[in-house]
């Protein structure tokens, strides 16, 4: 028969009391919200991308040709702002020029920071959606970064978790140039073989997504889509391993 001694009771009480505290700390540690992150000074995306409709890739120029989109150097800011005397005396621009005169980079905080073990390639996505499919830049970037043109300061609005990545990749409808499904689809379809809608939308989706976006597709539709594939490929889906090394490094 199991019974608690007096000493154990004390320990039990401490555990019961400490648990909510521990959970609170854990929640703090994993809090994703960096909207109040102390950036050196505010960068108003709403003005640049929203009001003046500057293309995202003008500043984040790495997005179309490398894995990382990149943060522009101070020189890029100055390139425009040295010719904009109308805002030269505002506090933020003064701060910007102080970094320029000190010849120091601005210590921006990274908002969309993926874990070390995740491989995300901006180029693949940008080349596919913007240059091949001809979607607009803001819509494409908005799939992962939210409706940045309405943000005063960039913040993370999408969860950027593995399940969230798969919500697109499981139902991706694209075909590559050689007629084979894209690698992501080839190796991830088995996980989607249920009749439930895959994306249980718990996170608010900003309005940039159009109704034709693949996240609206259901698993049953995918099944129908898979049926149309040649037999050799279909068999492969049934037994294919998921290639973790596509996205994990």
């Amino acid at each position: 028969m199991f019974h608690l001694k007096k000493k154990d009771m004390g320990r039990f009480a401490i555990m019961v009391l400490a648990l909510p505290l521990m959970m609170l700390f854990a929640a703090e540690a994993y809090a994703d919200d960096v909207s109040n992150a102390p950036q050196p000074f505010e960068f108003p995306h709403a003005r640049h991308a929203g009001k003046f409709k500057i293309n995202c890739m003008y500043c984040h120029s790495g997005a179309r040709r490398s894995k990382v989109a990149g943060i522009p150097p101070v020189a890029k800011c100055i390139g425009c702002h040295s010719n904009l005397p109308s805002v030269r005396e505002t506090p933020r621009i003064k701060k910007l020029f102080s970094y320029w005169e000190k010849k120091e980079p601005i210590p921006w905080l990274k908002v969309h920071d993926l874990p070390d073990f995740v491989e995300f390639n901006h180029k693949r996505h940008v080349q596919r959606f913007i240059f091949k499919d001809g979607r607009s830049t803001q819509q494409t970037c908005g799939m992962c970064h939210g409706d940045v043109k309405t943000f005063s300061v960039a913040r993370k609005v999408k969860p950027l978790t593995m399940g969230w990545c798969l919500s697109c990749h499981e139902q991706f409808q694209g075909e590559s140039d050689v007629g084979l499904p894209l690698p992501a689809k080839r190796w991830m379809i088995p996980a989607a073989a249920t009749d439930k809608p895959i994306l249980d939308v718990k996170h608010p989706q900003p309005a940039v997504l159009d109704p034709e976006h693949p996240v609206t597709m259901k698993a049953s539709d995918i099944k129908i889509m898979t049926e149309k594939l040649p037999k050799s490929l279909k068999e492969k889906f049934a037994r294919a391993p998921h290639d973790c090394w596509q996205c994990h490094k």
């Binding site: 084979l180 050799s232 391993p241 290639d243 994990h248 490094k249």
Partner: protein, 284 residues
């Protein structure tokens, strides 16, 4: 591991053309005749793959970290170099070097024993290791006949003094304590090469020579050849063919002049790395 999983693995093992339709299977050929044992491959591997330098003390206590190692053997059975031959200018002392890294076995003994499926076989014929899934049971390392899996007993990267962490390769995880790691055939380079091909609209084919592993790149004598075994035009498949080494064999039958073999073939682990035996000029 359930019985059904075991049976599934067994049926996969017997299904020899499991990856028949996959366009890429990475393979390697190492010519021991050319290998001088200079260990520049080891250095290149450590630099490319963020491998910590653990130091003499930790090596002594069995905490070695080195995805690639140079194994040294002596011809004489006593383990001493035969110094009797001193006549010629460069006497043959009977040393034999074998670079040893993960052999990317197609029937890998490490894969079925992982309790969390952190190691698995990927469609390119690589034995993959997913660090964020690894729980550090070290069963895979125990089951590896080549002893090429290395375990992070410590958080080595915390000791790096400040600006030096900029040396780390960003294409690769910096592994932390409690994670098993091993040679990946420089999968970050392979992934980039496949991406470059995809930019040109080509999928499932990487030009021979478009991608090099770090060890191959640094080898001063070009002893290491790396490429796609499925591509009949690649250097590595030529090497395999010309030295009579085939997949799905327990033993290679070398004809005259052929000197290819794979390590521990009799275990039926199907390594993707072929070694070319060293030839000695015994009359010198």
């Amino acid at each position: 591991m359930s019985l059904s999983r075991m049976l599934e693995n067994w049926s996969r093992l017997n299904q020899k053309d499991y990856y028949k339709d996959e366009p890429i299977m990475w393979g390697m050929s190492i010519d021991l005749n050319k290998c001088t044992g200079c260990a520049s491959c080891v250095t290149a591997c450590n630099a490319e793959n963020n491998i910590p330098a653990v130091g003499k003390e930790k090596c002594g206590s069995g905490h070695t970290m080195s995805w690639m190692r140079i194994e040294r053997y002596w011809d004489s059975p006593e383990g001493e170099p035969d110094l009797a031959v001193e006549e010629s200018e460069y006497p043959e002392r009977g040393a034999h070097f074998a670079p040893m890294m993960c052999q990317q076995c197609n029937h890998a003994p490490c894969e079925p024993v992982c309790p969390v499926a952190a190691t698995y076989h990927n469609p390119d014929g690589l034995n993959a290791q997913v660090y964020n899934r690894c729980i550090g049971s070290r069963y895979c390392g125990t089951n590896c006949p080549f002893k090429v899996r290395y375990f992070n007993f410590f958080d080595y990267q915390e000791d790096i003094p400040h600006p030096m962490e900029m040396l780390l390769n960003p294409d690769l995880t910096v592994r932390s304590k409690g994670v098993m790691e091993k040679c990946t055939f420089c999968v970050q380079r392979l992934r980039n090469a496949k991406g470059d091909q995809a930019d040109k609209g080509i999928r499932g084919h990487v030009e021979d020579g478009a991608v090099q592993t770090a060890c191959q790149q640094s080898c001063p004598t070009d002893a290491i050849v790396f490429g796609n075994l499925k591509d009949g035009e690649s250097k590595v498949s030529h090497a395999w063919e010309s030295h009579g080494v085939e997949l799905n064999r327990h033993e290679q039958f070398n004809a005259e002049g052929e000197r290819g073999y794979r390590v521990f073939e009799e275990l039926n682990v199907e390594p993707s790395v072929m070694y070319l035996d060293r030839v000695r000029d015994t009359n010198a």
